[in-house]
């Protein structure tokens, strides 16, 4: 079946511009995660969505970052007034929801490579 898809695969933008990154999770997965992977770093948790619950935004690095998930499916990560330090690969993952305290395998998308010049 179809996996997690992300678009665009690559995005080059000028400093100060806004960008939108899209994630289409696996059908039936109610949990959706965004991560950022910088060169030589691990994956940094950004935000988590579960069904219609309020998202966990505890990982967003600044108020320039926001995300939404429409209809419990597609999610968009928006970065306003991009800075060079925002350059990274942004990964989206989805999973079934096993309830608090448990965790199902996360399936990752191919990522969006963002370059801010």
């Amino acid at each position: 079946g179809a996996g997690v898809s992300q678009s665009p695969s690559n995005k080059v933008t000028e400093k100060g511009k806004d960008v939108e990154l899209r994630c289409d999770p696996i059908s039936g997965h109610t949990a959706l995660y965004w991560y950022r992977q910088s060169l030589g770093q691990g994956l940094e948790f950004l935000i988590y969505f579960q069904g219609n619950s309020a998202p966990d935004k505890s990982g967003l690095p600044s108020d320039r970052f926001s995300a939404e998930r429409t209809g419990g499916s597609v999610s968009t990560l928006t970065i306003q007034r991009t800075q060079q330090e925002d350059s990274a690969v942004y990964l989206c993952a989805s999973s079934y929801y096993a309830g608090t305290g448990a965790s199902y395998e996360q399936y990752f998308g191919p990522g969006t490579r963002l370059t801010v010049t």
Binding site: G3, V4, Y33, Y35, G40, Q41, G42, L43, E44, F45, Y48, Q50, D56, S58, G59, L91, A93, T100, G101, A102, S103, E105, Q106, F108, G109, P110, G111
Partner: protein
Amino acid sequence: AQSVSQHNHHVILSEAASLELGCNYSYGGTVNLFWYVQYPGQHLQLLLKYFSGDPLVKGIKGFEAEFIKSKFSFNLRKPSVQWSDTAEYFCAVNAWGNNDMRFGAGTRLTVKP
């Protein structure tokens, strides 16, 4: 918040050598533990996971990992690596009650044919 340390940044081995990649986490409560692998040009995929029960877990492609609670460790092992194991390996921890998954910085494994 929990954090994850992977001690080896880059490991180079010859085929048939044994592999052990270290992973330590800092969190005193109950955790779920994972190893993910990213082959060149591919997505991150799950290698193995530990939720509860037998602390020695077996994953795909002959990999295994042992959870040692007293050492806060979850090291990945494989008795005999192959060239096709060349990839980046990430250890991850999810604390019970938390939504986020904390990943280590990754270990790049290069296996020479």
